[in-house]
């Protein structure tokens, strides 16, 4: 059964049609590369899945059950986590504090709640080890490399045992060596049965990890095929419109 199914999703903002009749399915442990030019509707689609706003028409089902998300917390509760393009990290806090931000672990002493740093450092350390990242729980995010920052943002999504992780341009602003690190993080998520939607402009990154490529153009889905039977040239053609559909 499909993990997530989008049926004929459309979205318009006033007179502007941002998405037209987009249907999409996600299977567990699948990495889908979502590609398209600026304004093609990738972000709108991801924001609908993440609960930032509801679709104008169309329905979503998760594991066969219809779902409606009014707020990002609704989507999070259903098991959908998002890694924002700017990662949403606080530079002045440690890696562990960022992972647990808004979901801190506490000891209870009667009415008092005291932060349980030991447990947070331990759990964060385990998550970084799982992700095969060298990030250390006590280090300040300010002093971290781009790859380590990604690991912190991804570790945060792992706290809640998510089913789907949406990643918005995770490799846009980091060095080549760190890109490899992030792609490995994505593979680790996939190996644990998590479905990953990867939005990216970078063709080689998408082809390195994606099982399936979805191409959007002017609010419509113009291609949805296994990465193994596609090619960067074809996808480029689809994005620009040189190739109509595939």
């Amino acid at each position: 059964m499909a993990l997530l199914e989008l049926n004929a999703i459309s979205k318009h903002f006033g007179a502007i049609q941002a998405l037209a009749d987009v249907s999409l399915t996600l299977a567990p442990g699948e990495v889908v590369g979502l590609m398209g030019d600026n304004g093609a509707g990738k972000s709108t689609l991801v924001r609908i899945i993440a609960g930032n706003f509801p679709p104008s028409t169309g329905t979503m089902t998760m594991q066969g059950r219809p779902v409606v998300f009014h707020r990002p917390t609704d989507a999070r509760r259903a098991g959908i986590e998002i890694v924002y393009q700017d990662l949403a990290l606080c530079d002045n806090l440690s890696a562990a504090e960022n992972v647990f931000l808004g979901r801190e672990l506490v000891h209870r002493f009667g009415p008092l709640r005291v932060l349980n740093y030991a447990a947070m450092f331990r759990r964060a350390g385990e998550l970084f080890a799982e992700l095969k990242s060298e990030t250390r729980p006590r280090d300040l995010v300010r002093r971290m490399s781009g790859g380590q920052r990604q690991a912190v943002a991804i570790a945060r999504t792992r706290l809640a045992e998510p089913k789907i992780v949406l990643m918005d341009e995770p490799t846009a602003a980091i060095s080549v060596r760190q890109v490899a690190e992030v792609l490995n993080l994505i593979r680790h998520l996939r190996d644990q049965g998590i479905a990953v939607v990867l939005i990216s402009h970078r063709m080689p990154d998408v082809f390195a990890v994606a099982d399936r490529i979805v191409v959007m153009r002017r609010g419509a889905k113009v291609a949805d095929k296994p990465a193994s039977v596609s090619s960067p040239e074809e996808v480029t053609g689809l994005i620009t419109g040189a190739i109509e559909t595939a």
């Binding site: 700017d86 949403a88 606080c90 002045n92 808004g102 350390g125 729980p137 006590r138 280090d139």
Partner: protein, 353 residues
Amino acid sequence: MSKNPVDRTPPPGTASLDTAIAAREHRGLLAWLASQQTFWVSVAALIAFVVLSLVSDVFATQQNLFNVTRNFAFVAIIAIGMTAVIITGGIDLSVGAVLVLSGMVIGMTMNAGMSIWLAVPLALGVALAVGAFNGMLIAYVGVPSFVVTLGTLSIARSLAMVLSNNRMVYEFGPDQPQLLWLGGGFVNLPLPLVDAVRVPNPVLFLLLVLVVTGLALRWTRWGRHLFAIGGNERAALLTGVPVRRVKLSVYMFCSLTAGIAGILEVGWLGTITTSLGQGMELSVIAAAVIGGANLSGGAGTAFGAVVGAALIEVIRNSLILLGISTFWQGSFVGGFIVVAVLFDRLRARSSSD
């Protein structure tokens, strides 16, 4: 019970995890201290203290130290509240006005014969109400904190004038002795070898506020959320931190510290006029900034605020004792603010590469 050493060998992978968890930025204690602004401010205050003890016969006397600690306690108590606000990236300009309003509420109600047990909660309640007004407009309406608190600075002082008809109040009814003791009294702290040290009551309140706030900043969700909001407010919002509630509470907390200081200061002076605390917000902000609070948010400590306030008071006191015109006071305090901010810039630059 002895354990087989083999049993204690951790399974592979565990050791590296433990070291990763334990790992800090190990640079030695001295290097860590040297990177702390609070440390340098403490050193500066200490040097000033030693130099003054040597050059002035009066400075290190019981009576003068008693005065110095009591005088700085009022600014320091509010500087702790201000630091909490500054950590979130905000500012509260209304503290001096809240101080006089709180003092005037307790002065007028006790003057009318009210018990101190009712007057104190009432004064603190008024302070909290001003803080709630600030916080609502800042957190829920989105008005910049500078603008809102500039408005309440004017409003709260004007209310104090309305309340008292701009009179001086010095009769505090049947509970007057208790009020005067609260702000002007002291506790004898017996020490071995030397004479008992008199600790002024405001200093005891300062210690209480310092310990509670210091613990709250480090060990509660609320404290960490203040830092998160100051570091990246959008990130805090996206990760589910109740940003608006936390912001509301921090302005109430800051006003509460001003309210406490107001009551204590009235008790010490034994009189209140509507000019009390005029311009005090500047000393308070200066103390917080000298103590390491970063006006762009995300950094600051309660202890730093107290040390900052202490440094300012030591400078002030020393100028008087050394016979230097007090007109120079502003230059010295201002100089320290600039140096503190420069220090922060230099540190940020050296850690960013």
